[in-house]
Symmetry: C2
Subunit: 195 residues, 2 copies
């Protein structure tokens, strides 16, 4: 399937299967990812495709995510099985490959890790990660600061978003995801080396 047809299919699938609020979020991520890709020199069409894909399994019930991960032998961090919502990225990346024939590793990784981030994120991964955090319908404490950083510094915006996720888990008494911690530590070190 060529990229145009994939997106055509996905748009219909998501418009029909997602709640209106979530569909609006996806449209916001598509728009923001394209904008960020243009701004920071990432491949624009890959960013758009990754954005259309990223939340296709976001509203699956836990049991369906777990069953899919098990049946397809998805290689995921063991602790994600304790918080199955974290599987919606890996599941979407697998669906992208199997149902839509997407083979681009950068697109698949961006989708896979869009919730937690990961160490050594590339530009496309940061574009989707930040777009997901700051698209226009997002409203949470600190979003304005991350949005402002995303105007000029993609890495700083990604770092601030990872840190916002960690603070949120501390404030709410959620388990802190180790992949997110590793992503934040690596980006912090990278920022230091580059400044």
């Amino acid at each position: 399937m060529d990229r145009g047809n994939i997106i055509h299919d996905l748009r219909q699938r998501l418009a029909q299967s997602l709640t209106p609020t979530r569909y609006r979020h996806v449209l916001g991520v598509v728009q923001t990812a394209v904008q960020l890709a243009e701004r920071f020199g990432a491949p624009v069409l890959d960013a758009e495709l990754a954005a259309w894909l990223h939340d296709l399994a976001r509203e699956w019930p836990d049991e369906r995510l777990l069953a899919y991960a098990r049946d397809r032998h998805l290689d995921v961090p063991a602790e994600w099985l304790e918080a199955p919502i974290l599987l919606h990225g890996p599941v979407a990346a697998d669906v992208a490959r199997v149902e839509y024939g997407v083979e681009d590793a950068a697109v698949l990784d961006a989708v896979y890790y869009h919730t937690t981030g990961k160490p050594r994120m590339g530009k496309l991964e940061m574009v989707l990660f930040v777009a997901d955090a700051v698209e226009p319908s997002r409203d949470y404490p600190g979003v304005d600061r991350i949005r402002a950083l995303a105007e000029t510094d993609l890495t700083a915006a990604a770092l601030a978003s990872l840190e916002s996720t960690l603070r949120y888990a501390l404030d709410r008494g959620f388990v802190i995801d180790l992949t997110t911690v590793n992503a934040r530590n690596e980006l912090l070190m990278r920022t230091r080396r580059e400044s």
Copy 2:
């Protein structure tokens, strides 16, 4: 060496080698650890011994900590070598074993992990970890809340102290230690199961 002689030796060693501020901190930890052990039913003399031991290498320069860890083949998390101050617990535990003949695993673990905590901390480990965080000379944002928790709930105080450490690393732009994250997640889950 019996416990009385070990503490006699340590007291002289620390009074001579530590800065006055640090020595005052150690005395505060000794006093607080004994108090917490009595309050929460941990072995009081073990708590006292662990407290005397815990910071004996706290003022060693990074190079000395790294050289000791290398020469003695200490088994430490690889990332601690990037932040050598984290080695002062493992080094102190090793000195306790080699120079003072301390063999009690609970005492040695309490000393080893007193900076980061660890998953599945036992009572003695929590006593030293919390005493280190709330002894009378400690003064940092949030210490009063942890001190208040330590009046009635050792586990809640340890959890709050771990979370305070993580917030501090986020606020100050320090690397977040994975052992501390794992300790916090495990204690959070334990608290949930027990409540």
